[in-house]
Symmetry: C2
Subunit: 372 residues, 2 copies
């Protein structure tokens, strides 16, 4: 993997870069739609390409449990399996072990947990996380971390940082495949000195990139911004920085300003399935009865497949009638909104007017259930 910075903002930490992987390159800051089980929910790989998606994320934990990483490896790896031939990032499974599984016990060896699907017992440690991710064959893989719940006391988070450092070193030692870039994950909860400790320890090991983990777990926005801002300063300029699991369009804009290069979040896809659509003017709840006769597209500024072909009235009808096409058309729109938000952000940084762009973005927002 190669990362180069194309342009740094003259004010603030925002920058535009390019990452080259074994399956193609993409510009940063970038948003990665989430394909948890080897499918970005409700859409096909062709829909993703049409929406200008360049990289997607898949979840190690889910694919390990079903269908199993060995099966995917035997079928030619995840790219081949799911028919997505662009870059893929897989997470390490650490966050899902924390958020989805039951009865876990954590030792230096790894985490023992019960499957959320059938209750079967499993152990994933750093070696297993690397073995699984090697079998899946993603272009960017993540070191196995321990994500502390929020809130957690200082002692718990200190131990979580200690484990994350230990496990990250073992991931680096296990890694043998140069076609896969390996990122370390900074933990440390909301404690600045622990974030610093975690970041410094990982940076000494020289990962291909660094992620900020343990955020978007319930903390308020101000706390999150503080942690991002402070953590960022302990990480090298010349490596890509990935903020995991964040977030809203506003989160993306604010985090790019703090120097973040990569994002993933279920927000565009999950909101789409709930009938919440993103537009330049704000969020639109498609089930609202005001749209029953509305011949206009979701967003008159949008060029996506959905906005080019379907009215709000039809999308409302599909949603109210629980037609499966509803989920796909809504998801296409929301993903397109996110990829084009990132494209606009990159253009603004390149033209050195990102702070103007940010101001305009907020001025355009007129609130929920917009009518035009």
């Amino acid at each position: 993997m190669k990362f180069r910075i194309i342009h740094k903002s003259t004010s603030g930490k925002a920058r535009v870069g390019e990452i080259e992987t074994a399956h193609g390159s993409f510009k940063t800051p970038v948003f990665m739609p989430v394909g948890t089980q080897g499918s970005v929910k409700a859409v096909s790989p062709d829909d993703l390409l049409d929406a200008d998606v360049e990289i997607i994320l898949a979840n190690t934990y889910h694919l390990y449990l079903r269908p199993g990483h060995k099966i995917i490896e035997n079928l030619g790896g995840l790219h081949q399996f799911m028919n997505w031939h662009g870059p893929i990032l897989t997470d390490s499974g650490g966050f899902q072990v924390y958020s989805l599984s039951k009865l876990r016990s954590i030792t230096e060896r790894g985490v023992t947990f019960q499957s959320h699907i059938d209750g079967s017992k499993h152990l994933i440690g750093p070696e297993e996380a690397m073995e699984i991710q090697k079998a899946l064959g993603a272009d960017i893989i993540m070191a196995f971390d321990e994500c502390a719940p929020y809130p957690s006391d200082y002692e718990y988070v200190l131990n979580s940082v200690r484990l994350t450092t230990l496990w990250s070193r073992r991931c680096l030692e296990y890694k043998t495949n140069d076609a896969q870039a390996l990122f370390g994950i900074v933990q440390g909860g909301m404690y600045n000195d622990l974030r610093e400790m975690s970041a410094r320890e990982l940076v000494r090991m020289d990962f291909d990139g660094y992620a900020l983990g343990g955020l978007s777990v319930g903390e308020d926005r101000e706390t999150r911004s503080r942690v991002i801002n402070e953590s960022r300063d302990f990480l090298p300029e010349h490596k890509p920085i990935y903020l995991m699991g964040v977030g809203t369009p506003e989160d993306l804009i604010e985090s790019v300003m703090l120097g973040i290069d990569m994002f993933d979040c279920v927000m565009p896809t999950r909101n789409a399935r709930n009938g919440t659509l993103f537009t330049k003017k704000g969020k639109l709840a498609i089930k609202n009865s005001r749209y029953i006769n509305d011949h206009r597209p979701v967003d008159e500024h949008c060029q996506c497949y959905t906005c080019s072909n379907y009215s709000r009235a039809y999308l409302r009808h599909l949603f109210m009638s629980r037609e499966l096409l509803s989920y796909r058309l809504n998801t296409i729109h929301n993903i397109y909104y996110y990829t084009h938000l990132m494209e606009e952000i990159r253009q603004a940084i390149l033209k050195d007017n990102f702070s103007d762009y940010r101001k305009n973005f907020y001025e355009f927002q007129t609130g929920e259930n917009i009518s035009g």
Copy 2:
């Protein structure tokens, strides 16, 4: 609407024809996928075009109740509303009033029933059925009929034929729009003399085409074949004949042989969502564990989008994981199977070897859960 016969089978009643409508023409025998609520479940109009679909069916009863025919009319009609610009046929609502609604009472005026969605009370008679279908704007519309339950005694079915004749005449009298072809629906249950009566009365009124209704309601296959065969003889050669709500691939082949030109059925789409896929060798239940490692497409003879891009192993994984993409990919395959079955049937008739084709079709079938 224009119908011309291109070629008649030298043995049997099968024929190839062409129907020209206000939204384009298509060859017969034809299969129409069902878009009940203004969407063929799980797929988009582009998916239908890619699967070589030429005409779809939509349900008057459903669209009347939600979103309402006036709303669709105000939005430019059903073609515009759902972004399908090819031919559409709408049924009359008669069958759904019989199969879906509660507490109906039938008089010469029409049928009073309660909505299956919200329990609200409605009256649909022949005039309403025509008004609704005029507002929807389909290319082929159906006269309002009374579909007798099965089994029904002779007296009930006699009255049902009497009502259907009365209502069909009122539909013809109401009709003013020449861009919409109007088909009459033959009723008469499983009684040959009542089928004859119904057919003769409708033929005297000179509809643009004739449908056989009241079949696929629980009767056995032999009874159905008998009724189709006998009814067909009372209907004119030079008009298209449409067998409503039928059926399996075998049903289509057998019915084409009896002189049927048009079909609709939820079978390919509903089966797709249940994970049952059609292949040249028979039905394949994608959830079967034998496919967990199977890199082959569903059907190695199939050129559809699904078979061109995805393995049985991936389709099984999507289905087991309840991913929405599963329903779309399965539906695309099954619809393609049906459209290409019809294309093969037409080619066989044109080459005068339909009976060989039919024999080969059955010889290829090796039963469920095929492995290769």
